[in-house]
Amino acid sequence: MSPTRSDAGVAASDPHDGLAVLEARGSTAEAFGIPLAVLAELTHRCPLQCPYCSNPVELDRGGSELTTEEWKKVLTELAQIGVLQIHFSGGEPTARKDLVELVQHASDVGLYSNLITSAVLLTREKLSALADAGLCHVQISFQGNEPMVADRVAGLKNAHEKKLEVARWTRELDLPLTVNAVMHRQNLHQLADIIEMAVDLDADRLEVANVQYYGWALKNRAALMPTLSQIEETSRIVEEAAVRLKGILTIDYVVPDYYALRPKKCMGGWGRQFFNISPAGKVLPCHAAESITGLEFESVRSNHSIAWIWQNSEAFNRYRGTGWMKEPCKSCEFREIDFGGCRCQAFALTGDAGNTDPACTLSPMHEQLFKQAELEAASDNNRFLYRNFSGGTLETGDNHGA
């Protein structure tokens, strides 16, 4: 999904076609205008247990979630301050009984709505009601191209079949469909088939996103880390398919940063063009930001407005721009290109979110990181730690967590 993308302003624009990409511009302003799109994590509850879940290891419990009225107030406020698109995500957003009501409210206040879902809880009636409420776009995650691998990764029996069914309903209801495929060592061999599956499902877009290693995925890194040859093969498959399927399927590709030379421009830079709202109402610079201890995040339940939190809160300003940087970032010619990479990854791997992201070759830890990735990829440790509210459950030989 897009929030894990390394650069939000990914769409290239042709200067001759009368269309400019709004995202890529404007973001260089010192004033940090309100983001165009916001991610609303409605809940951390989810029937799936994917070992690379992007939610924090410390999940928000159901009882702490914002109420329907609180979310509606948030949506109204977002539209008023200039947000144009809302991504309803989770956890599993369809686990909220009020989702249709929230989508309807987003439509009423003029927000373009996108549903990022595992699809397994959807009925045709519910999906139809969401379409009637004005839902603009559906993204369904897939864990593989067939049930053996997919259901094992999801930690849920029959999940894959259900996803296929919901994807077909989505197109029958004339809703645009994006297939999200999160890739790692144990499913990369299915990539070519996943691309064909997306074509067969009449999807408009396919996101091929390599796992980003923080939170749950960091705990599962040894079981997920791809080999360098897998990554090279992946890039070849994606490039070939992108040409062959031009006009049929748009493919967005997120490369894994462990094997990169330069770090990703995470979130387009901390507090520059993105924020998300957690189930309990925290306003966060990225969905993993709460993993950085020592930062206080303001809530929509506080007496501050969302615009104030975005512009003035300590957490957003701590790593904004380049003023916070130490060497080697401080004097680096790329400092305003990648903004030192990912703060959460720097914190997770070095213990200091103010350090250079070790994905960067200029980080003193880069060499060690790359060697470790290679070692883990070559290891035979394929056992998952499934994501859940009790801190994770190790996969056993027979239950696959399902």
Binding site: D17, L19, A20, L22, A37, G82, Q85, G247
Partner: protein, 105 residues
């Protein structure tokens, strides 16, 4: 497996283009610009593109649109036709235009 259909339309004088459900043209009050909202993207069409897109309602044909623009700007019809088709084809190739479909229901 059958060859998957190409989503992109060929724009001609008889086309009746319309924005697909996932692309919405709207005026952004905060930034005071017209925008096209699409999955994962926000685009800012220029003035001419906005004027043409506002005519794309799935009912008007390209020929009708060109007549209207030629009258409004007292310009030569052929020149406008060429420009409008080129612009619409470009938007269609990017997935921001589709052909109006006959609803059977």
């Amino acid at each position: 497996m059958a060859t998957p259909r190409n989503r992109n339309i060929n724009v001609s004088e008889s086309s009746r283009p319309v924005l697909p459900r996932h692309a919405k043209l709207k005026f952004d009050e905060t930034r005071q610009v017209w925008v096209i909202l699409a999955p994962e993207r926000v685009l800012a069409p220029d003035e001419i593109a906005v004027e043409v897109l506002q005519l794309c309602d799935g009912v008007r044909s390209v020929a009708d649109m060109v007549d209207q623009l030629a009258a409004k700007y007292a310009a030569e019809r052929e020149a406008i036709l060429t420009d409008v088709i080129a612009m619409l084809q470009d938007l269609a190739d990017k997935g921001f235009l589709t052909e109006a479909r006959e609803k059977t229901s």
